[in-house]
Symmetry: C2
Subunit: 271 residues, 2 copies
C-alpha cells in the first residue's frame, strides 16, 4: 500500500485471483449502519470489471442488486464477460461471502465515439459550492465522513416528527474528503450518496435498505478529467412509495453543468 | 394453444425444460426493424422467473441488458435464483440462441406488504384517452400494431428534417390491442413502448438500439386488477445524450392516476 492512497482507493482495491475472480474487503472508513456503504460496494463490483484483463471500453451502465447484507471483512468478486461484441461488452458480476451470493450485478462497457451531445435534464439553478455551508451535524454513520457534503436544500430532517413533507427532493454539492480526482469508481459510489428519500419525505427513521441501483454513465474520460477534484451537484427525488418499496431517481452534474451520471434505485422500507 | 389467447399471450408463452430452463420463440406479431420488440423480450425474461417453481413473491425490479440482436425464431431462457431470503429473491436470467448469450438480466421478486404509500411523480394533466385520437399512421414496424397508442403530444416527428426540438418529452395513452387485462408481463413490455427519444429530439432517423432497461414495479396484484384493460398513461423523456448513448426516464400510471411502474433505459445511437 502507498501512503498517499486515500481511503477510497483502499476501499476499491482488489487482489486478482485469476479467471475473473478478485478478493476485496470492506473498509472501516465506509461503514454504514449495518455493513458497508452501498456506493462503495457498487464501486467494488465495477472495479472487478475494469480490472478484468478481457475488458474493452468504459462503463456505460451498471446495475447492482443488494441481495443480502454485506458482512464486514473479506469478499470475493467474480466478473464474467457474458457477451463481447466489436465495441460493447456485457458483464455478469457476483460478490460472494462464505460461498453465498450477497450482490448480483450486470454491467455494460463500450468503446465510445463522439456524436451529437445534449443535456436535457435541466441543471438546477443553485448557489455555488463555496456559498453553501458544509453539513456540520455529526453523522450517525462513518462513511458520511468520507465526503464533503453541502446541502443546498432538504438535508436530513431537523426533527424526526413524522410530518409528511409532501415531497422528497434534495439537492447538494458533494465530493470526496480528502478531494480525489473523479473516476468511474468514485462516480459510481457518489451515485448512492443521497440518503433514502423516505426519511426526507416522512421525517420518520424507518428501517430500510437499497435493493437495486442502476447507474448510467454519461461521462467519459474527458468529462472525468474536466471535473477533477471539483464538486458534483446531485439531485434526487422519490417517484413512488408502495407496499414496502420506493424508488428514487437522481442526476449528478459537475460544477460546469455537465451531466456525468443519471441513477435510479429501489429501496426496501418497513412500515 | 387456446384459440382465445392473444398475440401477447402467445409471445410470452414458455415451455419448461427443467432446472430453470425454458424454451420460447419470437412472435411475428411483435417484429421490430431487426428482430423482436425489446419489450416482449423483457417480458419473456420475466416470464421465466415467474414460471420458475422456486419463485417467491411478485416482481419489484427487473434489469434487462440487450447484449446482442435477438434473431427471429427459438431461444432458451435460463432463470437462476442467486439468493433467496425470507421474503425476497434475487435472480440471474440469461437468454441464449445457438449457445450464445443474447440477453442478460437480473430481477428481484418479493412478498410485499401494505405500508405507507404515495405517488410523488406528478400525474400529468392530460385529456382522457377517449379525447385523444388513436395514432392513424401506418407503422413501420409490426409490433406497433399490437398496441392502441394515443399520443397526447410529441409523437414521432411529422417531418424528419433534422431540426433539434430542444427536448424530447412524449406523453401517450397506451394499451394492448386487443385489450387484455394488465399483468406483470404486459406492464414490462409497455415499459419499452416509448420510441427512442433521440428520434423525437433530433427529428433524425438515426440507427440505434436499447442496450439496457430497468423497470421498477410499483403495482402489485391489486393495482393490476384495478387497471384491468384500461389505458396506461406513459411519459418519457431523455436526460443526457453523449458519445453514442443516451438515457430516457419514464413513468406509467393507470387511468385513475395510480403509478404502476417507473422505468429507465440507455440506448445506443450512431452519429
Amino acid at each position: 500500500m502507498q501512503e498517499s492512497r486515500s481511503a477510497f482507493d483502499e476501499a476499491v482495491a482488489l487482489e486478482p485471483l485469476g479467471a475473473g475472480r478478485f478478493r476485496g474487503r470492506t473498509h472501516p472508513g465506509y461503514a454504514n449502519f449495518v455493513g458497508p456503504f452501498g456506493g462503495t460496494t457498487a464501486a467494488q463490483c465495477l472495479a472487478a470489471v475494469l480490472a478484468h484483463p478481457e475488458r474493452i471500453g468504459d462503463p456505460v451502465a451498471l446495475t447492482v442488486n443488494y441481495a443480502a447484507a454485506v458482512a464486514d471483512g473479506e469478499f470475493e468478486v467474480l466478473a464474467r464477460p457474458a457477451r463481447t461484441n466489436r465495441s460493447t461488452q456485457h458483464w455478469f458480476v457476483e460478490l460472494l461471502q462464505g460461498g453465498q451470493t450477497v450482490i448480483t450485478a450486470t454491467a455494460l462497457t463500450a468503446v465510445r465515439r463522439e456524436t451529437f451531445a445534449a443535456t436535457e435534464a435541466p441543471v438546477p439553478d443553485v448557489p455555488r459550492p463555496g456559498d453553501v455551508p458544509r453539513a456540520a451535524e455529526r453523522p450517525r454513520v462513518e462513511w458520511v465522513n468520507r465526503y464533503e457534503l453541502r446541502f443546498i436544500d432538504a438535508g436530513l430532517p431537523s426533527e424526526w416528527n413524522g410530518e409528511d413533507a409532501g415531497q422528497s427532493r434534495t439537492r447538494l454539492w458533494a465530493r470526496d474528503d480528502p478531494p480525489r480526482p473523479l473516476d468511474f469508481l468514485s462516480l459510481t459510489a457518489m451515485s448512492d450518496i443521497f440518503f433514502p428519500r423516505i426519511w426526507r419525505r416522512r421525517a420518520l427513521f424507518v428501517p430500510l435498505g437499497t435493493i437495486s441501483m442502476t447507474v448510467y454513465f454519461h461521462a467519459g474520460e474527458a468529462q472525468l478529467k474536466e471535473t477533477a477534484t471539483g464538486h458534483l451537484l446531485g439531485q434526487a427525488q422519490g417517484q413512488g412509495f408502495r407496499a414496502g418499496y420506493f424508488d428514487q431517481t437522481a442526476q449528478l452534474w459537475n460544477e460546469a453543468g455537465v451531466l456525468l451520471a443519471t441513477t435510479h434505485q429501489v429501496v426496501y422500507f418497513k412500515e
